[in-house]
Symmetry: D2
Subunit: 142 residues, 4 copies
């Protein structure tokens, strides 16, 4: 008989920020990995994004949902480019297959996000560089 999964609680301000891997971001993004679900393949994190920082181009394998808790995020280039500009407090749903060539932070920002499945970081032509899911996130967080 398989047991229920244990509940978890993280006191977020008691955990220190760590640098997010530079291979996948620019400008000093830091993060806290809050949860991984190995069975479902989901993971949850909060990101601290200084003014001028950005994430490298990637595709979401499954749906992702974020809560903007501070500042401003230009997703898919921001509203000016046909994407979204999230301003705290803001909520966003990113679909399975969402391609994020440009995700950037014009001011100091913070957001919380739940991911189902991995992110595929890509070259400009869409070819995969690395597939980062719960296991790789857990490994990078250490």
């Amino acid at each position: 008989m398989k047991p229920k999964i244990s509940e978890e609680y993280v006191q977020i301000d008691a955990v220190g920020w760590k640098p997010f891997p530079e291979a996948f971001s620019d400008g000093g993004i830091r993060w806290k990995l809050l949860h991984v679900s190995p069975e479902r393949g989901s993971w949850t994190a909060i990101f601290d994004c200084p003014k001028g920082s950005s994430f490298a181009p990637h595709v979401h394998a499954g749906p992702g949902e974020y809560l903007m808790t501070k500042g401003k995020m230009d997703v898919r280039g921001g509203t000016a480019a046909g994407g979204d500009t999230a301003i705290a407090p803001g909520y966003g749903f990113e679909c399975s297959g969402a391609r994020h060539d440009q995700t950037s932070f014009p001011v100091d920002s913070e957001f919380y996000m739940t991911f189902l499945g991995p992110l595929t970081f890509i070259k400009p032509d869409g070819a995969p560089i690395a597939v980062i899911g719960w296991a790789e996130a857990q490994g990078a967080w250490g």
Copy 2:
């Protein structure tokens, strides 16, 4: 050929709070429904919980994850009763099958939560009163 699902963005402070159904809460809880995913059966909301408010007893069908953005929440009775006491900024994972006989707010509080599957509100003996998932949430939100 099925298309990708559309991205969504909600400017949370541009949406008004609505009372959460009194059949399932006590003490003036208000909410904003942010998203429903009819295919996966998931939904996302933010809750405003005055001091002294509480949710009626329920069971989570699937996993739920919350971000405590303000105040304090006693889950499963709080730490004093073997549950968790979440203090902003705090993160919690509630499993498939988690039974929440007591969820209460000792101070004015706010939390954001993603739900996979419905909540079953229950009688003290565990018998189901109502099963509230994405469709019922959407209906209650109106």
Copy 3:
């Protein structure tokens, strides 16, 4: 660090059929529970359904997918009533919120099904009688 979930294999013909609970079926339905996923809240089973058997009315909380491996199943009353009549080999997708007032087998039949989330068995007015998910399925299987 959380490990990967273990792979599983079941040699189906080496497992005996057990009666499916009579509270939720009629006419001698038997089943083999093949898998439960406690984290995701999913479960998988194969059902042996004699001619004239049926399932009690229920609602699917999350999506369900079936492969008809033998015989014939009238779902949602069958095609004559606006539902589907599955004939082996047939595949069906049932959505989150699908209500199955009538699921019956006009000939000896067998089908395999994956479920995300619980089934809510209901009274004619839709009120819940019992919510049967991975944990209850595992308990009934023993």
Copy 4:
């Protein structure tokens, strides 16, 4: 208000087999794509695998479940190499992160499989060649 997702039914023997892309398989594997779920990122197919055929090395992003309906499949090298050898009728659960360097069919075989998230086809060193999920499967099926 978002509607429920439509139910679907496919009469499997009324659909013709198509060759599975040779970039990802060897020996004449054919398939029928039965369903895609764009929101959840899941997809379902049945595969016809002649004696001596095999799939190219890949990693499962999310969980996958199969029903062996005919023949025999050596997964992760087969039981002789520490993997599983599935013999019809057999059921298998493959986890998020399962790496399948060798999946081969010693006799004419057929299996049905549900996938959550994409498969990443990989080079011997694990580097990604292509990420194939519901959208790419739908595109390949045409």
